[in-house]
């Protein structure tokens, strides 16, 4: 696992990146990008989440494949829930009451 200690500079770097992204996402929301607003907001959120997972939670530095497997499979299951539910909701208007 994360036996080697990471430098504190890197932690500050990640922190600054997270702060900047927060300000960016709050400001971009006021610009009209059409449907892209949602996309951008979620992309930035995902970038922030990735930074936290990879660096603060040390996933980038772990030799353990299992941790990554756990993360990926839980996200996969979440997407199963979302997409298969949407499969119903997005096709209901096609009729057949």
């Amino acid at each position: 696992m994360s036996d080697h200690v990471l430098s504190s500079k890197m932690y500050y770097g990640i922190w600054i990146a997270l702060m900047v992204l927060t300000v960016v996402t709050a400001s971009v929301a006021f610009i009209d990008l059409g449907p892209l607003n949602t996309v951008v907001a979620l992309l930035i959120a995902t970038c922030k989440a990735l930074l936290v997972v990879l660096f603060f939670m040390h996933v980038k530095y772990t030799s353990e494949k299992l941790t990554k497997l756990v993360i990926v499979s839980s996200l996969f299951w979440l997407l199963l829930l979302l997409f298969l539910s949407l499969a119903d909701y997005s096709t209901r208007h096609l009729g057949h009451g």
Binding site: W77, L80, L81, L84, S85, A87, D88, Y89, H96
Partner: protein, 544 residues
């Protein structure tokens, strides 16, 4: 528990410490397994009592034994108690708890204190459920369908929901413990391809517990919030969609069926090779099919909703996916059967239960094909056909496997043999009673008798009488083992360390095992189910 006669020579987990504290504060997985055994047995008989009352009410077409409201509470609490307080913890929390560390050559589960915590959570949940039952009960059906449960039922929905929430927490912690233990605590040399199939089955089960249960938890939380604060997420009068509740509910509750049946399949995969003296046929296929069932099981939930008002197209998607999950189940059945080919087959009690399991699970699985077929499902869903189908899976499958496993490992757990003749008799009674109870319900269902009916048209009576008659036989079949298991703890023959000549690490230690399972930590150099290398034992005699 154990008597002084045998404890003089050897110390083991049962006689190491005495007193109530040594049990209630234990972190020994074997003792926790016994705590679970006692608590789930209690709930099994509570649920069974409700079942008998239901069957008695249905003896006549008129609603004459109990009031309609009482009847509704009976089937609701029968479902909740049996599903959440018996079936889901049954094999994992009792046999799994006892055996998983031993089968992989570990001293204990990875988190012994969390293991104890999960038993306490179960007990808290159980007490909440009991309190709910004695102070008025709940009448929503175990499915909690909205808006009935949120806006119309005036029974103890919140309490029942919270009880199941807590029980779910307990189930999650058990699953988490198993996954970590299986990954991190295996004995040297015990590679994944050498793991007993019981372990594979529990691994798959744990995946479902970990990823499915939280969705049920949040769904119940939302139902509780809706009742307490009037949120309106599932309330159609305020723009909510009651079908969203059903989607979220079945996302857990369909895979939950596999939480019940997969461990049972694991038990059968241990019993069949042992009593056939054979390596298991197609180890890899059975192992991977457990994982496949765990994954595919999450893709099929809306087949419970074909007439609920979901879109035509999503119904078709879920129907075709439902057939995918049938394939790994079919593989298992064929491979177990093939394992017996050219074996040396013994008719000991555990094997009789395994026969029963294979037969009844096959019928339950095949009638599942009916329900996944859209056109048939429209007619038979919400009728007794469904009731019969899931009892074939959950009682014919899961409970048969559980009883088979209890007999198979009882010598290891208690250090005593149960009376073999009584064991075989009970297995036969359970099999006959079960079929008499539930087979007529398939016919009733196709004739159109809806489920959860307190009174019914007269032409359904003959079949209902058969079913009720069967249920009393079934009750005898379930009480018998409890009686002779208790009897055997004092009077049973002392068991050898390995009375069945079985493979597997749990048989390489003493019966009952010492507190840390092994006197010497094992190292595995052999493949699983090496029955070609183990001599068959002398047949257990039928005396007594």
């Amino acid at each position: 528990m154990a008597t002084a006669a045998i404890t003089a020579e050897r110390e083991h987990y049962l006689n190491k410490e005495y007193g109530i504290r040594s049990w209630l504060l234990t972190t020994d997985h074997k003792r926790i397994a016994l705590l679970y055994l006692m608590s789930i047995t209690f709930f099994f008989f509570v649920g069974g009592f409700f079942a008998l009352l239901i069957r008695l009410e249905l003896l006549t077409p008129a609603g004459d034994l109990v009031q309609a409201d009482t009847y509704n509470k009976l089937f609701t609490m029968h479902g909740m108690v049996m599903v959440f307080f018996f079936l889901i913890p049954s094999i994992p929390a009792v046999l799994g708890n006892f055996l998983v560390p031993m089968m992989i050559g570990a001293k204990d589960l990875a988190f012994p204190r969390i293991n104890l915590l999960s038993w306490y959570l179960y007990i808290i949940a159980g007490l909440m459920m009991l309190h709910c039952i004695v102070t008025g009960g709940v009448d929503t059906g175990w499915t909690f369908y909205t808006p009935f449960s949120t806006a119309f039922a005036n029974t103890k929905v919140i309490e029942a929901g919270l009880a199941i929430f807590v029980a779910g927490f307990s189930s999650i912690l058990t699953g988490l413990n198993f996954v970590v233990t299986i990954h991190r605590m295996r004995a040297p040399g015990l590679t994944w391809s050498r793991l007993p199939l019981f372990i594979w089955a529990h691994y798959a089960t744990s995946i479902i517990q970990l990823l499915g249960t939280p969705v049920l938890a949040i769904t119940l939380v939302l139902v509780v919030f809706e009742r307490l604060f009037g949120l309106g997420i599932f309330d159609p009068t305020r723009g909510g969609d009651p079908l969203l509740f059903q989607h979220l509910f079945w996302f857990y509750s369909h895979p939950a069926v596999y939480i019940m049946i997969l461990p049972s399949m694991g038990v059968v995969a241990e019993i069949v090779p042992c009593f056939s003296r054979k390596r298991i046929f197609g180890y890899k296929a059975i192992a991977l099919s457990s994982i496949a069932i765990a994954v595919f099981g999450f893709l099929v939930w809306a087949h419970h909703m074909f007439v609920a008002g979901i879109s035509l197209y999503s119904a078709m998607i879920f129907s075709i996916l439902s057939y995918l999950v049938a394939v790994p189940s079919a593989i298992k059945v064929f491979n177990w059967t093939a394992t017996m080919y050219k074996g040396s087959i013994s008719f000991s009690t555990p094997m009789l239960y395994a026969f029963g399991f294979i037969g009844l699970f096959t019928m339950g699985g095949l009638t599942g094909l009916f329900l996944a077929a859209l056109g048939i499902d429209v007619h038979v869903t919400d009728t007794y056909f469904v009731v019969a189908h899931f009892h074939y899976i959950m009682v014919g499958g899961a409970v048969m496997g559980y009883l088979g496993g209890m007999h198979f490992w009882w010598p290891k757990i208690s250090g005593r043999m149960y009376p073999e003749a009584w064991g075989r008799l009970a297995a036969l009674i359970v099999f006959l009673g079960f079929n008499l109870t539930f087979f007529p319900q398939f016919v009733l269902g196709y004739m159109g008798m809806p489920r959860r009916y307190w009174q019914y048209p007269a032409e359904f009576q003959v079949l209902n009488v058969m079913s009720t008659a069967g249920s009393t036989i079934l009750a005898v079949g379930y009480i018998l083992p409890m009686v002779y298991f208790l009897w055997s703890m004092r009077y049973g023959k002392i068991a050898d360390d390995n009375p069945w000549g079985a493979a597997g690490l749990e048989w390489k230690t003493a019966s009952p095992p010492p507190t840390f399972n092994f006197e010497e930590m094992p190292e595995v150099t052999w493949e699983a189910y090496n029955y070609d290398e183990i001599p068959a034992p002398v047949e257990v005699s039928l005396e007594r």
